[in-house]
Symmetry: C2
């Protein structure tokens, strides 16, 4: 897991926030080409409304997007706290000199083509740059990354990202994963405190950012995408500190040797390292995921599923074979599915006299009056209210069908209200499964989008299929148990 | 796995096809209510164009959808080969008498509320019905199922299912899974020889249908959804026979005790049974899947991925972190990702002089000229042509972006042609990953649908995400290896 860089870094706790709150920003390598990143950095800051001065730097420009441009950093009148660099790698040493002269505190090097190319000259340049950065005492994010998205401070690396802040913090070695988590999380109701894309981690690294998010009062869930780890001991110690304060979900990229080296000896060594890595992540009490989609799923779980005292789940399973599939997936995700107890049966006898003795768990919607989905919701509400269950999972597949009926809008609204009530008022952990997204019928597609947007806006945890829903619920409930001290993972107890 | 029913069934091989080719059909319990199944069975046969007489049977009807109705089976003039029953369970004994009188050969009992309710009286009725069915020598599909979808013979259980026949055979204990596999398979390019939904399997069962599909010249891939197995020995012997002739993919429902019984002793017994089941399925050389989506994925693989001599895959991974994720998923799916060999590097030097020495596997599209996806396709075509690779996987996420450009239509058409060429002309196994389906932008959603429809129509294997694509490719290539005799699963060698 790498060797310690043994550098004399200042304590990171609480130390980075001032750097992330610059009064003024310069974009060096700003460009008038709207397809270039040197343009988009300036555009992003302008559109999100960064309140301080924005200084495009490029000798060929007079101005950009209404902001006066300067030929060099040193030509800017007044102080510059934060520099975003989009110049070529060969120009970075000169850039550093300018930054030193201006008293810059933080540089984000979007600039790439360093060690990640595997080319010798580029790797040497990165090493030299690192030496000089340490010497200058300037902190650096990058190189080869997208830098900082901090909507509350009106800083963004991409004009397409939402302007509203949220409470998910994401540290990511990959810039495209940063964009991906934000854009895929958006329709699921996720918004971000900060996304820090940090690439080759020449200076500030994953441990610094973990410590930062652990302390950050605006962050309640931490997501991390890491490829290489600079210093394993520092990282896991930061990870344990972070987990003690908030949930941390980790996606490790480069779990395999594929794409890096084809030598089987290397693969074997890596497999051993991955085993150690997994054990350490688990011991720290963090959640490990395999893909960005799983990362979104787990963040949604921690933000929106709600409290639960155990893993006994009441499930609305769909119809027929789908109900059986739901049962199997719940079981494989470690969820318990108790049958309705006697008292609940008596209540069901009144509500669904034609099927009360036949309601199982999962509830098979096809045994209830077909087309009257409200009956299924009534049954679910009764199960949610029963002390026999800690949580609910309801399959809403086809809920948008109502929109195809004459009285569709009214019926649909009624369904949606029932779903939201179930999620919010039952006091139980709740997860919903959405309908088929890839529908070729336009009204159905629009209906499905509407369901998903309404649920996201209402802060309801919704998943695209039962497999993902049950996995997320299972891992989430296990983490709650671990935090209660019921787990055996060795994580710290706290509340 | 159940006990042998020890009945003296006739040899099933080749024996069922005449039953599935009736000259005339009666729908008993036909209804004028368009929301009822008794209506939809008649509507389905009419709309798909069943060429023989269709006889609705219901004392309250004079005619239905242009077909004269009869009060009872016996009132129909002329022979009736096949009866579809939508009458209540209590009326089935009488129905059987009528069928005997008319010389009916096959009854499909859509009729439900038998043993599946868990109610004593219903279970006794099913037992009595079974006794009399055997006595009468009439074959039965069901009860509690959707029956027969046989588009080539113009028989369907649902008017919404496609009229075009195909070569996938599906035997399913659940009717809704039958509907689901056909409708989810449709946009993926799947069409069906027959779907047989057989429910409680009072007479004909999973072993009979497996034998049927094994012999059926119209079926090239067999999919099966089974819950209970009547006779384990008969089933596995049929499964081995079927696997020897064509690929068989099995989804077992009720892998867990959940929903059936909450007793943990039962759960433990079931876990042991499931372990035996899995070993037996593997030994028979069939593919086991966990969900309907995985079932679709594997059928698509066997139909459309194409030949491969090994598991060395060339991958277009997406951009940045997504490329790393692709590598990890390939590795976890058992796929090898060799780096481009020397000869290929030399070719790459000419095609992509700016990145030739930096092209890895997976190929990171972000190092190629951005926005010029054609460059990525050129690189993939060169990799597909290289003897270093047996197969290709290409991530097409965002290919519909082209449609947002001025010259969009032309560029998009060019991309699509390159994709299809890659799939068809490389002579290598090929799998493509589609873009994000749940897009809130209409033009993008329509573009994505168009990509998916064009690929399905061209017989190209496409998957909704890299996780599903790599899993399917991995299992498919392992099955090819097993069939070549390279596997250790004990399956028979054949071509």
């Amino acid at each position: 897991m790498g060797t310690s860089s043994a550098s004399a870094k200042p304590a990171a706790n609480g130390g980075l926030e001032p750097l992330f709150r610059p009064q003024s920003i310069a974009v060096v390598g700003a460009s008038a080409n709207p397809k270039s990143q040197g343009y988009e950095f300036v555009q992003g800051l302008v559109e999100i409304g960064f309140p301080g001065p924005i200084h495009p730097v490029n000798p060929k420009l007079d101005e950009l997007l209404g902001h006066k441009a300067y030929p060099r950093l040193e030509a800017i009148p007044g102080p510059v706290d934060f520099v975003i660099s989009a110049v070529p790698a060969s120009a970075t040493l000169e850039l550093l000199e300018g930054a030193k002269a201006k008293g810059v505190k933080l540089i984000h090097l979007f600039t790439a083509r360093f060690s990640e190319t595997g080319r010798d000259a580029a790797t040497q340049l990165e090493r030299e740059l690192k030496r000089r950065v340490k010497e200058a005492g300037i902190r650096v994010i990058g190189p080869n990354c997208m830098g900082l998205y901090y909507p509350k401070a009106k800083i963004t690396f991409d004009p397409e990202l939402p302007a509203e802040p949220g409470d998910v913090g994401f540290l990511t070695q990959s810039g495209s994963h940063g964009f991906r988590l934000v854009t895929r999380g958006k329709p699921r109701g996720l918004r971000f405190s900060k996304v820090i894309s940090y690439g080759n981690a020449l200076d500030l690294d994953e441990a610094d950012f973990l410590d930062h998010f652990a302390e950050d009062p605006d962050t309640s869930v931490i997501a991390a995408y890491v490829e290489g780890i600079r210093d394993g001991r520092r990282f896991f110690s930061a990870l344990r500190r972070a987990v003690a304060r908030k949930p941390v979900i980790v996606l490790k990229g480069g779990r395999s040797a594929a794409g890096h080296a084809a030598a089987s000896s290397h693969t074997a060594a890596l497999a051993g390292q991955m085993k150690m890595w997994r054990a350490a992540v688990r011991q720290a009490g963090a959640i490990e995921v395999r893909t960005i989609d799983e990362l979104v799923d787990m963040v949604v779980a921690f933000k929106y599923v709600g409290p639960a005292a155990g893993n006994r789940v009441a499930v609305l399973g769909g119809a027929g074979g789908e109900t059986v599939e739901s049962a199997d997936l719940c079981n494989e995700a470690g969820l318990e599915l108790p049958l309705p107890p006697e008292e609940l049966r008596e209540q069901l006898r009144e509500t669904v006299p034609h099927a009360w003795d036949w309601v199982g768990n999962p509830v098979d919607a096809s045994i209830l009056a077909w087309g009257r989905r409200s009956e299924a919701f009534e049954v679910m509400a009764m199960m949610a209210a029963s002390p026999a269950y800690d949580a609910i999972i309801a399959n809403l597949r086809g809920i948008e069908d109502a929109l195809g009926r004459e009285d569709g809008e009214t019926v649909f609204r009624d369904y949606m209200e029932r779903v939201k009530r179930l999620a919010r008022e039952s006091g139980k952990a709740a997860v919903f499964v959405l309908g088929e997204p890839r529908s070729n019928e336009e009204w159905r597609w629009k209906g499905a989008i509407r369901v998903s947007e309404e649920l996201a806006a209402a802060g309801v945890a919704a998943y695209p299929d039962m497999d993902r829903a049950t996995r997320a619920m299972g891992r989430y409930l296990r983490d709650l148990a671990r935090r209660r001290g019921g787990g055996s993972s060795g994580g710290r107890r706290h509340r």
